[in-house]
């Protein structure tokens, strides 16, 4: 057997490798946080505080023996991040907002303006811009506490309420954080936030939605109005039951076509909404023509009503300004909300197509 001799080149190559490995091992271990030492809240509530500016409540699932438990922790602070820091002090795990799915603002806060809170949310990389935002009139701590059992059974209950693949319907607004942030700087895109409260079975219940322009709440919509706004903003997915006096139809599809123009400084908009429906339930025996006529009238009336209200508040909920981007210059676009939008002359034409009448033949 030959005698073992470590060659010099091997030694000179080995040494730096070992040094580097040591350096990494010693200094690089600051980041390690095991997953069971992290607290990953899923819902956050922000409300005006009693003593300080903000009160933040976090609903945190904590690992347990068999099943995780849900705890609601809240704290107050001058800024949102300070409040969260206070919460961290009281929680034994490291708080990570990485899996935050829903942010609930208190209506009082929205009335004052939430632009800065939105900027905080986007600035901190932890909160994903695709989390949903909502509003509530009830006390956020109570809201989060009372849903504790339901969340323990299914951790993503809140998220499913707004998610398009789960329980969302187009008559709830499911605004995401990025859409809200977009409105902070955009000249022509405002949004609405769903107002939720605690329902009978201790889960969320929709109570209309708040229209937010310039970060402040300016108006309140009910579910039928929300449906129309959602259709206009292409957030239409699947079927929604629309009740008329004579029949109930399921809206299968909706398409909007807009024609915009500017004449002597007055913007004009002509929209054509094509609804494709199928009949669900009838009362009496209305003819298809009647149903269509009824639906068209209702839609048109609703649209004009909402639009006029929005024009008063200078809130471009239907994102009409977007269509005018091809015509206006950037400087003019900056003045869209203040100068052009209130003078908008809009008209809408709704056309309904009854694709089928369900499993029964219409006589």
């Amino acid at each position: 057997m030959r005698r073992l001799r470590i060659s010099r080149s091997f030694r000179t190559r080995c040494l730096p490798v070992m040094l580097v490995t040591l350096i990494f091992a010693v200094t690089g271990c600051g980041e390690i946080k095991d997953i069971n030492h992290r607290a990953l809240p899923i819902v956050m509530g922000i409300a005006p505080g009693d003593e300080k500016e903000f009160r933040v409540a976090l609903q945190i699932p904590l690992p347990g023996q068999q099943q995780y438990t849900v705890r609601t922790v809240s704290a107050e602070g001058e800024t949102v991040s300070q409040a969260i820091q206070r919460v961290q002090t009281n929680v034994e795990n490291h708080l990570d907002l990485l899996h935050l799915k829903l942010i609930i603002f208190h209506l009082d806060l929205i009335k004052d303006g939430i632009n800065e809170e939105l900027e905080y949310a986007i600035r901190s990389r932890q909160i994903a811009p695709k989390s949903y935002i909502a509003a509530t009139e009830s006390d956020i701590v109570k809201l989060l506490n009372s849903t504790k059992e339901r969340v323990e059974q299914d951790g993503t209950t809140f998220y499913n309420f707004f998610s398009q693949t789960a329980g969302w319907t187009p008559d709830i607004s499911n605004t995401q954080l990025w859409e809200a942030y977009r409105a902070v700087h955009s000249s022509s895109q405002d949004y609405m936030a769903a107002i939720v409260g605690i329902g009978d079975d201790e889960m969320l219940e929709s109570r209309g939605s708040a229209v937010i322009a310039g970060g402040k709440m300016v108006d309140r919509l009910d579910s039928e109005e929300m449906l129309l706004v959602n259709i206009f903003n292409n957030k239409f997915q699947g079927a929604v039951i629309q009740v008329l006096e004579k029949a109930s139809v399921m809206v299968i599809g909706a398409k909007v076509r807009n024609v915009v123009s500017i004449k002597s400084g007055v913007p004009k908009l002509h929209s054509k909404l094509t609804l494709t429906v199928s009949i669900e339930e009838t009362k009496g025996e209305p003819s298809p023509g009647e149903i269509r006529h009824q639906l068209n009238e209702e839609m048109e009336g609703r649209f004009m009503m909402i639009l006029n209200r929005m024009k008063k508040h200078e809130a471009d909920l239907f994102h009409i300004g977007q269509h005018f981007r091809r015509i206006l210059t950037p400087d003019e676009m900056k003045k869209w909300r203040s100068e052009y939008y209130p003078q908008l002359e809009a008209s809408i034409e709704v056309e309904t197509l009854i694709r089928n009448t369900g499993d029964l033949i219409d006589q």
Binding site: E31, I122, P129, K130, L177, R182, R325, R326, P330
Partner: protein, 353 residues
Amino acid sequence: MIKPLSLAVTFIYIHLSMSFFLFPEFLLTSTDAGFWQPLVINALLQLAFLLLLLIGLRKFPNRDAIEIVNPMGKLWSLILFVPLAIQFFFCALIMVRGHSELVSMIFLPLTPVWLITLLFVIIALYGALCGLKTILRTSLVISAFCLPIICFSLLTTAKLFDIDNFFPLSDGFSFVFNRSYYRTFTLYTGFLFLCFVPTVTHVRIRWIAVAWGGFVVVLLFSVYMPVLIYGSESAATLRFPVIAAMDSVELPWLIFDRITMIYSICTMIFVFLYISVMVWAVGYISDKLAPRIPKRMMIILTSAALFIGAHFVKTWHNVEQLIDWTQPLRLYSMTAIPLGIFIIATLRKGNET
């Protein structure tokens, strides 16, 4: 098919590595609307100089730029290539420091920044010592992995596009007066490494031109993607528009919740290879101009200098300042070197015939 593909891919990623993180921010703050204008103008400028350079190099196949210029006099080599070496060094420094900061912000907030910088420098060192051929091969293999992931991540955001945000089309030429616009030139000087490639592999102009086209398309996409989602005003306020835009997309059918991490990692790999190429280029230039210093030693020295230099650049603001200070050098390299090589090559060819 063999070597031109890896060179073309290297060309693409050398430019894209910069465009992922620093570039969109500069471009979006330089003008309010019509972002395609500064982009296209810069790209066309780059194409012009690129073609000049390549045509100049083609007159002497298998000779790199220094070998072409040297017979005209050592002075010309020094005038042209010493600033180039310095510019490569600063490019690498900006990339190292900028991306260490980035990594620290995105991935590892608690790790000391010098450790991350050290990692960057070590990999650059290893890559540069392995040589350009190895880097070319590695880039091909990595692109096979990473480009599909990157394309996929970018394309998923198409769900949220609002085409109207593309308009208004133009904001005049006001961007020329904006400092941010000049910072975008950092992107376009990457092609100068092609000066030294002919000894390693054959350069085919058609492939490089196609690569240029591909890179411009991806660039346009990566700039317009946050604009189409967020609107130009909001997009300009974001530090990392592409990442924020990607984070806004919801993909319930995908295993992962947020794919930005994977995207960031894939693009970061390209940054490493870019820095390796820069360090290698510095070593190569010094090897040709001052053959007495062994090439390995120069590469190790350059890497050490990078590490030390990164120490002096302390904040993000300093990074931006550094970019502003090296601006004249950058513009000089981008214009003088292709011109110089083209003219000298033509003169020599004229003398020979």
